[in-house]
Every structure is written in C-alpha cells, then in structure tokens.
C-alpha cells in the first residue's frame, strides 16, 4: 500500500512536470515567433513548390521547379515583361541583329556586378556562351536540353548531341558590347535569349567550383559544387542554403542586383502534394503556392487568398495518327472530328476560368498567331455528313489518354477524354478507350510507337516563338501524327530560318493557316493555369511563362 501511494505521488508529479514543460515550451515557441515577426524590414516569403529542384546551374536545367529558383538568382540578357510574353531589357539594355540574322549585338547595362563582387560585362557574357558551346562530355551535353535544342550542337558533339552548331563565336568589343556570331539565322532568337537556361553565371564562380565537371557513374550523374552549393548570378536574390532534410531552399536579398528585391528572404518549401500545399497555405505555413486545382479557385478566394490567373501560354490538342488508321488520312474525316467536338462546352464546363477554345496550335500571345484561319465550330450534323462523304460511317478509333498526371494544359485527363469521346460517339464514331499512366509508358506508346488513332497531349511554351509550338509538333515526320507533308515541313523550316520581326511573324501566320487547312490534329483549348498567394502578399505578377520574379513582392 505504501509503495502504491508513492507510485501515485510520483505519477502525479510526473504529469505535473510534463504539463509544466509543455506550457513552458509553448511559451518559448510563442516568444521566439513574436521576435521573428517584428524583425526584418522586407519580410520573408515562403512559397510552396510542387517538386525538388534538380540543382542550380541553369545550363543543365530544363524543368519548371528548378527554373522557379534559378530565375531569382540569375538574370538573362533579355527577359519577358512581367505578366506578358513580350521582350524587355534585362542585362542587355539593347539588342539588334544583322539583316541576315547571323550576328546579334548586345549593349549591356554598365556597372552590374555578380553577387560575388566580380563584374558582369561583355567578357563575362562571352565566357558563358563559350562555356556552353565548348561543354565536354556526354553526361554534360545530354543535360543541356535547351542549349542543344536552340543552338543545335556543340564544339565537339558527344552523347546525344548531333548536328551543326548554330553558335560560331562571341566577341567582347568593349565592356558593354557583346557580339554573338552565328553560323546561320535562327527564328528562335531573340525570344530564346529569355530562356532561364541561358542565364549568365559568374565566370569566377564557375571556375572556382568546377562547374563544367559533370560525371556519370552507372545510371546517374554527379554535378559540381557550383551547381549544388555555390550558384552565383546577378538576380534579385542570392543563394543561401538547400536543406534536403527539410526540403527548403533559402535565398536572401542580393543588394548588388540591378533589380534588387524588397524581401529579405525568400524560402521555397517543397510540398509535392497539391492538397498539402493548400492546407499549408490555409494554416499560414506558406505565403503562396503553385498549381492550385481549378476546382479550388472558389474556395481559396472565399478564404481570402488571391488566385492569380496566368494568361495562357499552352495548348491542349487531340492528336490524330494517320499512319495507324488509313481512314484518318482523309482530311474529311479529320474535319469531322473537329466539327464533332463541342469545345465551347468543354472549355466552359471542365477548364479553369479564363481558358479559351483553341483555334490553332499557338496561343494568342505568341507572335505568329492569326485569327485568319479555317475554324471548325461545333456542328455535329456537318461532322456526320463529312464522315458519310468519306465513307467512314462505321469508324472505330483507338483513343489513348494519360492517367496519374495533371499538366497545366490538361488538369484532368480523364475528364477531358470523357467529354471528347462522348461528343465523338454522338457523331457515330465508336471509341476504344486506352488509359495509360503518364510515367508508365503513355508518351512512349503515342510518340515513339504510334499505337493510337487519337490521343490527348499538349504543350507549354518555352519562349515567345511560334516555332517552339508548331515546329515542335509538325516540323518533320513523327510517329505521333504519322503523316508526311513535305510542303508543310519546308514551310515550317523556312519560317524558322526567317529573321526576327514582322517577316518572321508573317511566315508563321501563313504556316498556321496551312496547318488548320491540313488539320493534322485538332487544337482543343488554351487553358489558363493559376498561382495562388495569401492576402498579405503584394506585388506578385502572374506570368504566362510561369516566369514569376519575386523582386517586386512584399509580405506585410
């Protein structure tokens, strides 16, 4: 009994102690948080990112979550005007090309320094161009997706790099004049100079941290300390840390930047699950996040959050594979598909606000878009007639669509498939549905093997050039669409080689007309993705290219 009483006393004491500890701990937590809130001048922004960055050397990157961060650390020569896909000066105050499009002269801002204190001048710009061109090793070159695409080759092609390089040389005429010489004109310029992969790094830091050393061992790559720990640019923020355990990337204000930030600190917190990002915003753990589900826009707004709609810079299309089903070679059948889909209804009921019916394969903000194309408004009767004329009234089509994925141009593939296939059934087409996981062979089957008759896919643009859309889709013979149209291929290649400006835009307008007559696929919609920030965040401008820069942001 005595023992029992002691035990009880001890138990009560322990509970008391635990309670006291909990109270004092929460008091500590409270006091520390209060200190933090009143601290800095510009505040801290915590942004919920959907995925891990790969690393921070822009040259080896090609995906959005990494670019979101490198865009804050680095500047490019030219940038997109906030909220648009129009070009505006960045490190280059002015740029001009020679008449033949083979020489580009950049007049650089003077007195700009990298965050390590070294000068950002013409020598530094040329150092970067030379670095990309002279990059050695299959591992390094296979990771330079955008350089490979735009500049078409390296000094010595290794691994997957082939072709004749567009780049010839770069001359630093004086500290503020860099001249880029090309072997041939390229339609992607000047817009492609805005690509985050072509951001300008500090030559001193590149050398100090062996940035060019990319090695491959077994089935993986190893990058340098530059890429992982010491990225240096002229952007509004400086890299501070990448905490893998917490999934946090911390940037601090770069006071020497030509476009300095208002915030003291910018933290990217990786939260892969969309629902978890929403919860984190609601709980006040983060100040904003990307890729909110269109179904949540209303709820988020009711909670006082700001849902910022991005102007569309993508296109969703219904792919048609002529090689897999000979009946699809008849343009009348393809036209019947276009007339048979109620795209207005689909866009209204299934896509986010601001989305529009696509009339061609480039979104409206791209130069080269034209309203003067053949349009295919919803007309099921006409569709049936066309099928009859083509002798294709008993058509059965294998329709592939992806699962386990949500893309900016296709928030819900299953919904999209259902809506379109129901419309096609109404005009008498039988549909064989083939659902496949996105990372489980979908793209292999439709793009590599061409197993489908119809499929759903789309594209988000990289920079403001029509060639980045239509050239990618229809520039050559592809298993995805299974047609050969030499006339169209050469028109696209001529448009790509036309020098920048009005002639370039006109060339693409003509190509777009041609494409919509030939109708190799059916453009469905220009969806508008959104980005969401809390009520205390001011100054964030949603960009069609997901090119949001946080230097204008404040958190009150």
């Amino acid at each position: 009994m005595q023992q029992l009483r002691l035990t009880r006393t001890r138990r009560v004491a322990l509970i008391g102690l635990a309670g006291a500890l909990a109270v004092s701990l929460s008091a500590c937590a409270q006091s520390k948080r209060d200190e933090g809130a009143g601290g800095g001048t510009g505040g801290t922004m915590i942004f919920g990112a959907a995925g891990n960055p790969k690393m921070f050397d822009p040259a080896f990157n090609d995906e959005g979550e990494t670019f979101r961060i490198t865009r804050q650390i680095y500047d490019t020569l030219i940038q997109n005007k906030p909220g648009t896909a129009d070009l505006e000066p960045s490190l280059a105050e002015k740029w001009e090309s020679s008449n033949d499009g083979k020489t580009w002269t950049f007049t650089l801002k003077s007195g700009v320094k990298f965050s390590d204190g070294t000068p950002m001048d013409a020598t530094a710009v040329c150092f970067n161009f030379d670095r990309w061109y002279n990059m050695k090793g299959a591992a390094a070159q296979s990771q330079m997706i955008y350089y490979g695409d735009v500049f078409e080759g390296f000094a010595k092609n290794e691994g997957d790099a082939t072709g004749d390089p567009v780049y010839k040389s770069c001359e630093a005429k004086d500290p503020t004049t860099a001249v880029l010489n090309l072997n041939k004109a390229k339609g992607a310029f000047p817009a492609a100079f805005t690509l985050p992969s072509f951001a300008i790094s500090s030559p001193a830091a590149l050398k100090q941290y062996n940035a060019d050393t990319v090695t491959q061992s077994g089935d993986s790559f190893t990058y340098s300390d530059y890429a992982n720990k010491h990225p240096v640019g002229t952007g509004p923020f400086k890299f501070e840390s990448w905490d893998q355990a917490k999934g946090e990337i911390t940037l601090v204000r770069n006071d020497t930047s030509p476009s300095p930030a208002k915030l003291d600190k910018l933290i990217f917190k990786v939260i892969p699950d969309e629902n978890a990002r929403k919860q984190a915003l609601k709980a006040g753990d983060i100040n904003g996040y990307d890729y909110p589900s269109p179904a949540d826009y209303g709820l988020l707004r009711n909670d006082g959050e700001q849902v910022l709609i991005r102007p569309s810079f993508n296109v969703l299309y219904l792919g048609i594979n002529q090689a897999n089903n000979p009946k699809l070679k008849d343009v009348k059948v393809r036209q019947a598909l276009a007339y048979g889909i109620n795209r207005e209804q689909f866009v209204k009921s299934k896509l986010a606000e601001g989305s529009e019916v696509a009339t061609e394969f480039v979104p409206k903000v791209i130069s080269g878009y034209t309203d003067d194309v053949t349009k295919y408004p919803y007309d099921p009767e006409k569709a049936k007639q066309l099928l009859q004329q083509a002798g294709a009234t008993d058509l059965t089509l294998k329709f592939y669509y992806p699962t386990e994925v949500s893309r900016p141009y296709m928030p819900n593939p299953a919904d999209t498939f259902t809506a379109i296939s129901e419309d096609l059934k109404k005009i008498g087409i039988k549909i064989e549905a083939h659902a496949e996981p996105w990372n489980g062979g979908y793209k292999d089957d439709v793009q590599k093997a061409g197993k489908q008759d119809l499929h759903l896919l789309g594209w988000t643009g990289d920079y403001n050039d029509a060639g980045n859309f239509v050239g990618t889709f229809f520039g050559r013979e592809k298993k995805e669409f299974g047609f050969s149209n030499p006339q169209l291929f050469s028109a696209l290649s001529a448009a790509d080689a036309s020098p920048a400006g009005d002639a370039h835009a006109k060339a693409y307008q003509e190509v777009n007309k041609q494409i919509m007559d030939y109708l190799p696929a059916v453009p469905i919609a220009y969806p508008t993705p959104a980005i969401v920030v809390g009520p205390k965040v001011k100054g964030l401008v949603a960009s069609p290219l997901t090119d949001e820069r946080f230097n204008t942001v404040t958190v009150s």
């Binding site: 915590i46 355990a245 699950d273 984190a280 753990d285």
Partner: protein
Amino acid sequence: MLRFLVRRLLQAIPTLFILSILVFAWLRSLPGGPAAALLGDKATPEKIANLNHVLGLDQPIFIQYFGFLGRAITGNFGNSLVSTQPVMGEIATFLPATIELGMSAMIIAVVLGIPAGYLSARFRGGPVDNVIIVLSLIGVAVPVFFLGYMMQDILAAPLGLPSQGRQAAGLDATAITNFAILDGIMTSEWDAVWDAIKHLILPAFALATIPLAVITRITRASVLDVLNEDFIRTANSKGLTQQVVRTRHVLRNGLLPVVTTIGLQTGALLGGAVLTERVFNFRGLGFLLAEGIERRDYPRLQALLLFGAVVYVLVNMLVDISYGIIDPRVRVR
C-alpha cells in the same frame, strides 16, 4: 547465442543477393523509365533514347546488374536522378525522420494496444470488449492515406496541429543528428522541440492505427489463450494475488506472440510510412521512396529497397533474439 547470430547473418547474404536481383529486374520491368521522367514534358522519343544510352540503360540487363553490384559492394549506389545528390547521403539525411515517426507510431501502438488487448480479454464478451473489437477492426480496415487526409481536414485546425511537414517553414533549427526532437534538446532550442512534437502527432497516430489494431487483437487472443492454461489455474489455486497472476503469469506468457507481431509490424511500418509520409509531407525515407517511384529514380529506388530489406532482416533477427530472452525454451532449442 553468438553462433546463432552468425548463422542468421550468413543466411541474410543470399537473401539480400536474391532480393537485389529481384529489385533490379522489377525496376527495369516498369514502363516509362527514368529518362522519360527526367526529361519531362519536352522529352522526345529520340532524347529519351539518347539519355538511356548515356545512362547505360540500353545495355543488356545482366551487364547493368553486374555494374550495379560492383559499385554497390563498394558502397557506391550512385546519385539520385531527381535531386542529383548521392543516394546514400539522402538515406542518411532522411532516415532519422522515419525512425522518429516509426518509433512514435510503435510507442503509441504498444502503449495503447497491449492494455487495450488485455482489457478486451479480461472483460471478454462485455461492452468494453465489443467496443475494442470494433475499433480495432476499423483500425485495420481504414487505409492510411484516407485516415491521413481525414485527420488533416478535420483534426489539424481545431487542435492547432500542423497538417504537413516536419518543421515549420523558415524555422532555423540547428541540425546535428537530423532527429528533430533530439537536435532541439541538444541545442536547448525548445521551440524547435515543441514544433517537432506538434508536427509528429498526426502522422504518428495515422501510422500507428494498423499496428495498434493488430497488437490489440493479438494481445487479446494471446491473453485469452493463457487464461485457459493449467498453470494459471495452479497459480490461482496457490492463492497468489490477482495482481501477481496477471502481471507475472498472464501478461508475461501472453506477450510472446505480441513481441513477434511488434517485430513484423515494425517491418510493415516502413510500408505504411510511404503513404503516411507522403500524405503529411513528412520528409523521411517513405517520402523519398514515393518520389523515387514517381520519377523512376533507379539509383534511389535500388538503394532504398535494399536498405529496407536489410532493415527487415535485422528486425527479424532482433525478434528471434528477444524470443530467447522472453522464453528460455527457445534458447535451448
């Protein structure tokens, strides 16, 4: 005991070898592959083929396997394709979170499960028994991710508990061991300790539900068995107090199958942790694994799955050893 341990260790080698082959073959049989996942939206079939070539993924599978084995024996499991960091470093970084979560869940399961099972057996057929049986059935039946989302949506806000993550964003807690609670105690950062505990509560309870239910059921069944044994009748007839009979005889003998269950459930926790960590964005090995599967990150998956196998083998050995401690007859055999 030493011979027993050595024998078990030697048995583990062929087990791990066969597992490594299975893991390797399974990963490569998945459609998609890392190149497509790495290159993302802009990947063309040509680019994918080329990257596969650069990564050596177009070579015959046995050549790939022996290359992997050769590197793995020297401890080189390569770099993650997603994060580009060495996977062994990633495991070291993320393991503490999983241990923290798994241990918390197991403590909850054991501390609540054994008394619940015991009570259930003692009041067999009564309302307490029925309530416990129904609750444990629900515990086994409800999927972890569903429970996790329910907890996030319903409990997090009213209880003032964070619904995701392991630490508040921007909290500058010092990381020494990567065990958030331990680090906080070591550096006297009490706000970090409290923050870590708060972040642990919901995921630990979500992860604990299945082992809790299983332990409850096993304890109940085992205690019922023991209660019917002759030696309990003997103990009672000797005039021992109920307290002594229950703790020394019933519980001690009833715990043997429970210990086995705890061991097996600890292994199974790793599986549950994948979903729990994903739902709660709790950055441990399960989180790493889920991300690795989505992105077909071969190096990471190979290392993680083999690591899981090693843990499983070790846990089973510990279970065998604890058998010997609880029941001397096992040792004799």
